[in-house]
């Protein structure tokens, strides 16, 4: 079936099998491999992307369900000049990543989190990121990064 969506501002239209998952569509048809498949069972959150602004585990959604939607992946966050998005910058400065495999999902989930909770407490961040697993950092620096990004967004206003 023919599926079309806007991914990172670009129109992507591909012929795919109806069973194709959104993550496969992004990685294989759009060649956007920044979105990772960690568990394939909606447990780890490595595949988190934004669909019409909301964070979604793309291994749990069919590409067909996102037909016509606007999708943002990790590749679409940085500015056109390559400048990091404030959330990416905060992860960098607070050492919120090590191996980087969970990072795309963590960053996307965090962007959506502070969109919904512009003034999150540490507890809000920990609860909000419950669906994203990281085996390297122990989460502490990720939480610090998200709180720093929320703070930066507030003072930028």
């Amino acid at each position: 079936m023919r599926i079309a969506m806007t991914v990172n501002g670009r129109r992507e239209e591909h012929d795919v099998e109806p069973r194709t998952l959104l993550v496969s569509f992004l990685r294989e048809d759009c060649s956007l491999t920044g979105t990772k498949v960690g568990c394939d069972t909606s447990s780890c959150g490595a595949c988190t992307v934004l669909v019409s602004g909301e964070s979604v585990k793309s291994c749990t959604m069919l590409a067909a369900q996102a037909d016509g939607a606007t999708v943002t992946t990790i590749e679409g966050l940085a500015g056109p000049d390559g400048s990091l998005h404030p959330m990416q910058q905060a992860f960098h400065e607070n050492h919120g990543l090590q191996c980087g495999f969970c990072t795309a999902g963590m960053v996307m989930a965090s962007v959506s989190l502070i969109e919904e909770h512009p003034e999150p407490t540490e507890r809000d961040v920990r609860e909000g990121l419950e669906g994203n697993l990281c085996r390297c950092t122990g989460y502490h620096n990720i939480v610090k990064a998200v709180l720093a990004a929320a703070e930066a967004a507030r003072s930028a206003r």
Partner: protein, 117 residues
Amino acid sequence: VTAVIADTVVGTRVLRTEDPALLTGESRFTDDLVVPGALHVRLVRSPVAHARIRSIETTAALTNPLGVKGIGEAGTIASTPAVINAVVDALSHLGVTDISMPATPERVWAAIQEAAK
């Protein structure tokens, strides 16, 4: 000493140079590489912690209708069997063929006594 340290990064915050690629989705992990004709592997692990494998039945796997290219057996987590195999090898001339983990002195002694019978 102070002068030397002052000119180095000791005590200062250092940002990782590998972060930007990881943060923008630019880095490639093995799963991100497209290798034409690549095969996929499925690992089957032992369902028990310690056992002797007498045989492996592969007929069903080899005749899988999805098509299997091959089935192989690999050593598991290498270090533990390597140590146990070394112990068994050292005692093999005494007739010891297996020893349970952990290979405590008591177990080694008992294995030697058992093999001598």
